[in-house]
Symmetry: C2
Subunit: 252 residues, 2 copies
Amino acid sequence: MKILLTNDDGINSEGIYSLYGQAKKLGDVTIVAPDAEQSAVGHAITLSQPLRVKEIMRNRHFYGYAVNGTPADCVKLGVRAILKSKPDIIVSGINLGPNLGTDVIYSGTVSAATEGTILGIPSFAISLVTYKNPDYEYAASFARRLIRLIARQGLPQDTLLNVNVPAVPKDKIKGVKITHQSKSRFIEVFDKRKDPRERTYYWLTGEMSRMEGDGEADDVAVKENYISITPIHFDMTDYGYLGELKKWLTLL
Amino acid sequence: MKILLTNDDGINSEGIYSLYGQAKKLGDVTIVAPDAEQSAVGHAITLSQPLRVKEIMRNRHFYGYAVNGTPADCVKLGVRAILKSKPDIIVSGINLGPNLGTDVIYSGTVSAATEGTILGIPSFAISLVTYKNPDYEYAASFARRLIRLIARQGLPQDTLLNVNVPAVPKDKIKGVKITHQSKSRFIEVFDKRKDPRERTYYWLTGEMSRMEGDGEADDVAVKENYISITPIHFDMTDYGYLGELKKWLTLL
């Protein structure tokens, strides 16, 4: 099995290294990842500057390819220019921090898996729900099981999986839930400051606002110590509103 | 009516200037737009550097606020830090070039309108389907009519509109079609080159691959000289696949 790994925390992050260790047990693994952290880049691609690829060593062996671009760039370049043949599966992660609720649209981790799906390759994103003292071991072994299952079961042509693993000891994890994206979102506050030259600047800050969600919402599942798997697609048409909107045609 | 305008081509683009001219006929208009072109940034937000705001003059009058960030940053900063009160509507555009099919996920123009919707403000994105010799006049007057209609009709809480206007003379436009996002997509090719120091670099290039679409697909409508309006939402859950995926639970 040929496995392509990427992420948005950058090639030097420990999350992708843990994933690499587990994925290697299943087949031939190639890493193509950003040379620096690319969090919150959403589905950005790089059009205005050329992309460069650098071969990275780790523990005295070739480890992977670092790209001066976004996660979506890495997947495009990996599949179209670096790999000799199409990978069987693409895994993006393990991300340091959750990718849940409305925030999924900002996620570089998820966008890499989306890009893989667009390219016709079964893909998933995997995130560990913590920002500090991450222990990726359990999430990485779960990723390995999921890779094996997807290799056997396949995925629909336009669907990827968004996986979030609670950061609790293995024996506290209650199981897996198939979930939908919740409406929870980040409520931003801008921290207004003056620089040493008395010019104003702003830092984006804020906090998550948890919306009331049913037990099938991704963030609720994770809070209850379930691994959350959400099937995601990239046709964003609001089909439920098409009929209503057609009534506007006489008004325009 | 308070109208917030933004785009991804940057504050100095002619597309937003045309929109400004028409929007001013309806109310109080504020421009908060990127200080430079931000095409294909998707739904990126800026977390790793501070945002700065610059007041821009045009024709000797105050014109708008330029931000060193992405379209989504501009909307967040505009609503949360620059405007004294929430705008009634947000319009993103007029983009130079289409935002159709799968490529919508890369669109900074659409992401700005998505951000507006997340903030609870009715929003739409508008694009002119050409890359050269744009004449924004008709698209801008259509935007004005749409602003007025949305002010009257409202939009569902989680839905924005993605509008694409064919770049043909006004009398060639056949009308408006309510559409869905097509599966058409960009097929990328990397142009591999050597720099003067003999180091390899890649330019992302390629061409659109049009998929067979019905007459209700966004790209088909535009090709047939209709203005395309697609309702978009940002819950990307593939609800149709949830049931099937639940069968995996016994296998994991």
